[in-house]
Symmetry: C2
Subunit: 362 residues, 2 copies
Amino acid sequence: APKKLLILPGDGIGPEIMHEARRIMDWMAQARGVRFDISEDLVGGASLAVHGQPITQQVIDAARAADAVLFGSVGDPKWASAGFDRRPEIAILKLRQELGLFANLRPAKVFDSLVDASTLKPDVIRGLDIMIVRETVGGIYFGTPRGIETLPDGTRRGINTEVYTTAEIERVARVAFDLARKRDNRVCSVEKCNVMESGLLWKEVVTDLHAREYSDVELSHMLADNCAMQMVRNPRQFDVIVTGNLFGDLLSDLASMLTGSLGMLPSATLGAKGEDGRTPALYEPIHGSAPDIAGQGKANPLAQILSLAMLLRYSFDMQEDAAMIEQAVSNVLDRGLRTPDIMSAGKTEVNTAGMGEAVVAE
Amino acid sequence: APKKLLILPGDGIGPEIMHEARRIMDWMAQARGVRFDISEDLVGGASLAVHGQPITQQVIDAARAADAVLFGSVGDPKWASAGFDRRPEIAILKLRQELGLFANLRPAKVFDSLVDASTLKPDVIRGLDIMIVRETVGGIYFGTPRGIETLPDGTRRGINTEVYTTAEIERVARVAFDLARKRDNRVCSVEKCNVMESGLLWKEVVTDLHAREYSDVELSHMLADNCAMQMVRNPRQFDVIVTGNLFGDLLSDLASMLTGSLGMLPSATLGAKGEDGRTPALYEPIHGSAPDIAGQGKANPLAQILSLAMLLRYSFDMQEDAAMIEQAVSNVLDRGLRTPDIMSAGKTEVNTAGMGEAVVAE
Ligand SMILES: CC(C)[C@H](C(=O)O)[C@@H](O)C(=O)O
Ligand SMILES: CC(C)[C@H](C(=O)O)[C@@H](O)C(=O)O
């Protein structure tokens, strides 16, 4: 039976860039006879507009039934003041939680042909290749108690709780160590153990797991504030970074921006292997929905296309097809084609569709 | 009566760089007849070694009685595994909490003569001048419940609680708005209101205060992950940033590193004006204790010296003396003198004492 692929374009530039990823799938079907069982649905603001909620139970069930989810991006200023429970972002938070997608893999990689796109000096970032493994179903994003309460004297208090258990820390650390073994074999674990007990436990659990099962991997520890600095000072010191939900949110965005080309970076979020042998997985560009340029043909579809490649590689074990797409992207860049976000002097500017077509042509 | 100044050199390079700051004070006494009532005491690892605790009640009382505290830095790998309650860092956390030092002011400023020291391209950071106002006595650093608990099944859970009240948010926002009025009149408030209710309350309170009392100041809001990115993409878009304790920790370190010269940056942490009209205040370099280079004469004393200038300016209203010190530092840099951390081709390398002497000479 063909693999089940659920496509969730979402908001803003999501639909445009997803359109280009579908172009690649169409080509794969035509040229290589690869068939998927594809369905598509609404999330984020797009779902709010139709269903009054950022994601329906039906979409969650479809995601659970799929072999992999290809996600665009959510977020729409239209819903900015719609209340905490009606944020488009809930779509992605719910998918993570309901499917148990606990490990967000975010590569920050500098393409040689785009080394000048960064605000950092080329010498500092040439060849940069960091993999951030961010925990995504625990920590302060989901801990309780949470909320805003009003005290008798009228004072209001906003509360969130950071909670991590040994098991939650261990499983994400395992993903990081396993990945490191296929890379440069180094893991840096990041927390604030000097002020937070949850960080102290994090450090202990990672250290123990390392001693028990991964002593062949080089492990270091770094405070989150120092990590933010080191990323700017000398980002190439890192191979794999593993960290909690909140630090991972900031640090992975920071790492991406070092590359200067957010529009190029895919990500994967993986769950635990189920009894049926399947690993729930969602793939998405690391950039947001960019409402300011939506519908103008300016968006860079490459992160979405590379997310598809990542999906083929990790979820469908289609290494050859994944490599083919990645090579095509690399060739297109070498030929000098650029969407506006990565445009520089002497290159050829193309729009979203132009870029998608060029990748297909390659 | 002369102003009471408490000096706490701390660990690592703290004592060396404080020595150079004292040189300036000696010169002020000699050349300008400025007298302070100076006392000095132990904090951090230095205090742990003598008193078995990172800060004694006596030092806290002395800090409370002082008109201002000049702090070096704390942190010593010797005490890394001494247990959560015996971390050198507790010294600074306790001082913040006991003296109610709720607003940490951290300027990230690029000196023209050091524009090449950054890993960012000169075009991106030339003239950079950001002021980060970080809340320092609330949030997840101090919220309860906190700790590590063991569940009946042996699972351990690390817990920390982020709490912010309307009053805590308002007073730090006020500091930011007041500062903005003396600068470029723009405040960017940073939180994660899309996932945290404490951030949602933060945003509401800042927005309300702005509407009520500061509508002449330009206010914007940014998510913390986006802020980390924007700092790398285009840091000069910011004037004053106001944010909570944890985000402020990461973002202020990140902002400092953009300048490429941590050894140059001072900071102030201020409390609320007391009934006696005094505002508790602590001044310290933003860099850490750098144990790796301690005792080698390599440390850059300028952040400590500029912290003294900041102290004179904010706490003692000695504008002229502060400006004099700042000008001397600027002249020394223009003359090409550099400690190893900011050394570059064609400049003259000096050691810690050499730099201190040069500032005095100017
Ligand atoms: C959309 C938002 C809730 C999300 C997060 O904060 O996790 C995003 O920033 C991300 O990093 O995937
Ligand atoms: C020393 C440490 C507790 C402190 C903090 O995390 O607040 C430091 O990093 C700082 O930024 O002043």
